[in-house]
């Protein structure tokens, strides 16, 4: 009966709507808690309408959240009906329902799980029935996702653009990737024509939600505190016990610690390791949840607190945001979006110092990565000593602020009134640090006129070693003991402003005439010179700008740690920046930004792995390079809309690429 080609919905849609209704009904009707002393059970309806705290659930359950679910589900259900009625079946329905279904399951699951973990479960008891309802609903939804619409053909991607004369090359999408492609395409269709501003406001809403209710929700999931960094730092905690060190030790014994039967001890270690690994996957005790349950908890936390609010708010504000952005002049629109971004990040980072610190590190890393990308990505040189410039900037600005504005035991009392220090003095110090780093950059820029490629790489490396070597020898600034007592002036606002200014500066530089010259040098230096490009001047500018920004990043870095030490700016730091640049992709500013964010968070997230952390990170790097040699975004920028979409939305949203026409496939 569904065989007709023009049916507006699929069998799966019907199933999904039924499943969503089941969830709704189940939520209100099924019992959630069993009260003590046989006082009966509590249903979702009772919880939702319980405004007086009659049930007295020990204050553990945030009613806000219990209310979020039915409201979200009702809204999604209404939207689904409306979209169906308007025959826009390919847009919001499945995804919205899928999200609500997953939320419902996660919620039931969380509530059930919480009972197991609660240290004082005497007052009430969760009833597990909700879990099974949710499970059935989710299976229904997944089935829906896999049943194609009657008129759909198998997923194919068109590689060649259509206006060329060459025959169109059609590539079958591998089976295992189809569901993902399907999901992302549907998702893109749903989110079509949403400008960045709408997402940013969604982010503000989400982080505000976390600020208000994150703690209680995390408590519900069994955590002591709101999850930091979206749960990234907690996720790998179960694996912190993994100790590989016994595996090969018998074959490489230290003197005086030889093994009688190396093979045997190695095998034993390996077996023990396997057991530990298996144990870490599953929950063993109340205090140490297993990896799987943590994963579910973290997903639940992120989806409920971040993903859903962002999507819902962005969809709601899509129209108004477009109209606003189109009406505003371009620069004002950008400024507005930066302001909203700043607001979102401050709320998120304001929750505690650790988050703010991570944001600061991210900002510093973005500055370093973007500035190195100018030289390595856009100009095509291979600079491997970026940390040296950072060191110069850090030391110069730290010495200035300490000497001029603070009483320290290194330079004595402040030379100038300390109230001049913020903000003016700090700006001057940072710029001076940048300028000094730019001077050090000359040590690379001048040799670069003649020395190129890998030989220039050695020059940059040598400059890095020279800088740290010289600092080690100047005992007035502490030598290897470092410089302690740098005022802690860097906060998130400073880093935000400097990062934004640096990124904008590099962006406009590479898009200027000069920037075209920089790219020309990368493509062919001799040809560029023949075209009349002053390659020396351009190289000078590129190295100066790059080291200037690195120096400012160093200055900010020094003023957050309150301490600088030449050892902090060694070749390892340079390597880290290099990794970030190539992870993000050469010649891509957005790639650099994303890589810096990812890398900084990865470092924090992998910390529980201890020794294995630096095994995992290179592995990821190698695998990424093998699959995407150009990095995440090599030589292209992410397409984000900062100016708003003009005109009216068509019913179809974005063109679809199902076995036929389309343009979004060309991006791959």
């Amino acid at each position: 009966m569904f065989a007709t080609n023009r049916l507006p919905f699929s069998l799966g849609d019907v199933l999904a709507v039924v499943a969503a209704l089941v969830i709704l009904v189940a939520f209100f009707v099924l019992p959630w808690y069993e009260l003590d002393d046989d006082a009966g059970t509590v249903t979702g309806y009772q919880i939702a309408t319980d405004t007086e705290d009659d049930l007295d659930l020990a204050g553990r359950v945030s009613h806000m959240f219990l209310l979020t679910l039915p409201i979200a589900a009702l809204a999604a259900g209404a939207l689904a009906l409306w979209e169906l009625a308007s025959r826009r079946y390919d847009r919001a329905v499945p995804v919205m329902i899928l999200v609500v279904g997953a939320l419902a399951l996660a919620y039931y699951y969380g509530a059930f799980w919480y009972e197991g973990r609660s240290t004082t479960p005497d007052e009430f008891e969760f009833v597990g029935s909700g879990f099974w309802v949710g499970l059935v609903a989710l299976i229904g939804l997944i089935v829906q996702a896999f049943i194609p619409y009657p008129h759909e053909k198998p997923l194919k991607v068109i590689v060649a653009p259509q206006d060329t004369a060459e025959p169109v090359q059609v590539i079958e999408v591998p089976r295992w990737r189809r569901p993902f492609r399907w999901f992302f395409r549907r998702f893109r269709q749903m989110m079509a024509r949403t400008p960045m501003l709408a997402y940013l406001i969604g982010i503000v809403a989400a982080v505000e939600l976390e600020r208000r209710d994150g703690a209680s929700f995390a408590g519900l999931l069994g955590f002591r505190r709101p999850l930091s960094l979206f749960g990234a730092t907690d996720l790998l905690e179960p694996f912190s016990d993994l100790d590989f060190s016994g595996v090969l030790t018998p074959f490489f014994p230290a003197p005086g610690k030889t093994f009688d039967a190396p093979l045997r001890s190695s095998w034993d270690a390996l077996r023990g390791l396997g057991e530990t690994f298996f144990d870490s996957l599953f929950t063993q005790s109340a205090r140490e949840p297993g990896f799987f349950s943590l994963l579910l908890d973290v997903l639940e936390y992120d989806v409920v607190l971040f993903v859903i609010p962002v999507i819902v708010v962005a969809l709601l504000l899509r129209g108004p945001a477009n109209r606003l952005l189109v009406a505003l002049p371009g620069w004002l629109g950008i400024l507005l979006q930066l302001g909203v971004l700043y607001l979102g990040l401050t709320i998120w980072g304001g929750l505690n110092d650790y988050r703010e610190l991570v944001l600061i590190y991210i900002g510093v890393n973005v500055m370093l990565t973007v500035s190195l990308n100018l030289v390595n990505g856009y100009m095509g040189e291979f600079s491997v000593g970026h940390a040296g410039f950072m060191a110069v900037g850090a030391y110069v600005s730290a010495v200035l602020t300490m000497w001029l504005f603070t009483d320290s035991n290194v330079f004595g009392s402040a030379a100038l009134p300390s109230e001049w220090g913020l903000p003016l003095g700090f700006i001057v110090a940072l710029v001076a640090g940048g300028a000094a780093a730019a001077l050090a950059g000359l040590m690379v820029a001048f040799p670069s006129f003649r020395t190129r490629g890998d030989y220039l790489a050695i020059v940059t490396l040598a400059v890095n070693f020279i800088v740290t070597g010289v600092i080690n020898n100047v005992s007035a600034i502490g030598g290897p003991r470092g410089l302690n007592g740098v005022p802690i002036w860097t906060d998130f606002s400073w880093v935000f402003v400097f990062t934004v200014v640096s990124v904008l500066a590099i962006h406009s530089l590479v898009n200027s005439t000069l920037g075209k010259g920089i790219i020309a040098i990368r493509e062919d230096e001799i040809a560029a010179e023949l075209m009349g490009i002053n390659t020396r001047r351009i190289k000078l500018v590129a190295f100066l700008v790059s080291s200037f920004i690195a120096g400012m990043a160093g200055g900010l870095f020094a003023h957050v740690l309150a301490y600088v030490n030449p050892g902090m700016f060694g070749i390892l730091k340079s390597t880290e920046v290099l990794v970030m640049v190539y992870l993000g992709g050469m010649g891509s500013i957005s790639g650099s930004i994303i890589a810096a964010v990812l890398f900084t968070i990865l470092i924090e997230a992998f910390r529980p792995l201890a020794v294995l952390k630096w095994v995992a990170i290179p592995l990821i790097l190698i695998l990424l390079m093998l699959h995407r040699p150009q990095g995440l975004f090599g030589f292209r920028e992410i397409n984000i809309n900062l100016r708003g979409f003009r005109g009216r939305a068509t019913d179809k949203g974005l063109p679809i690429t199902i076995g036929g026409t389309g343009d979004d496939a060309a991006a791959h």
Partner: protein, 300 residues
Amino acid sequence: MDLTFFVQQLFNALQLGSLYALIALGYTMVYGVLLLINFAHGDIFMVGAFLGVFASMVLGLPFVAALIVSMLLTGLLGVTIERVAYKPLRHASRLSVVITALGVGLLLENGMLALTGADPRSYPEGFINTTSFSIAGVNLTSVKIIIIVLAFVLFFGLYAIVQRTKWGMAMRAISYDKFAVPLMGVSQNQIISLTFLLGASLAAAGGILWGTAFPVLSPYMGLRVGWKAFIAAVVGGIGDIRGAMLGGLLLGFIEIYTVAYGKDIGITSTWRDPIVFGLLLIILVVRPTGLFGVARRQKV
């Protein structure tokens, strides 16, 4: 400050320099054939030294046998790394291979740390004859002599392979034109594998000699030495094995003699690093393609 002092320092410099040179040779060979800076080379050197521990402590082999076993195993490791991590990227941008190499290096050193623990290792006592003797006031050890001699033997052996054999000719040919040579019926893959085999075995030899001269081995030992050898190879003119040898020796001489005579002109040994790197910087400015390097002709 006399001749004895000078000669003593000369042997110190020869020992350090020839160790640098052995590692630099591997860098430069790979570079010559693939134009790839194999940043993992320093860590292959470390694995070589550790395999020496395996051969001597677990298998109980004497010095020469351990050296050969370690060179073979490390050579195989080098070939494997090339096959798994570099070969798929042969047509990708040069720098993505360099970053992959950086990743492989990090993986090797941290993997070794994770799998074997943090205890420092050394070779068993009596692994190598360590008599020290004095000739005209110059104090030498047998280890020092063995290292210097072996380094030169290996260098000349390698030089002979590259200059006199068909394989060597193929290697040079590929480094000259990697598109035309496969058309002549030379298997590019085999030559590249051979290069990695030779380069990694030399690193292993360097590792074991290093471990006998400085008998405290740790997973991070290749980090700094690797960078130094890379510098030596580039200063010599990367891609040229004579350049690597000379660059390694030069680096050793500069490091040793800056300390030895620096204080006579008022520079304490604390300034060694800035001075050594400053000198190298100047060399590269004066000779932009290193001592032996030839500027690659670019077609415009």
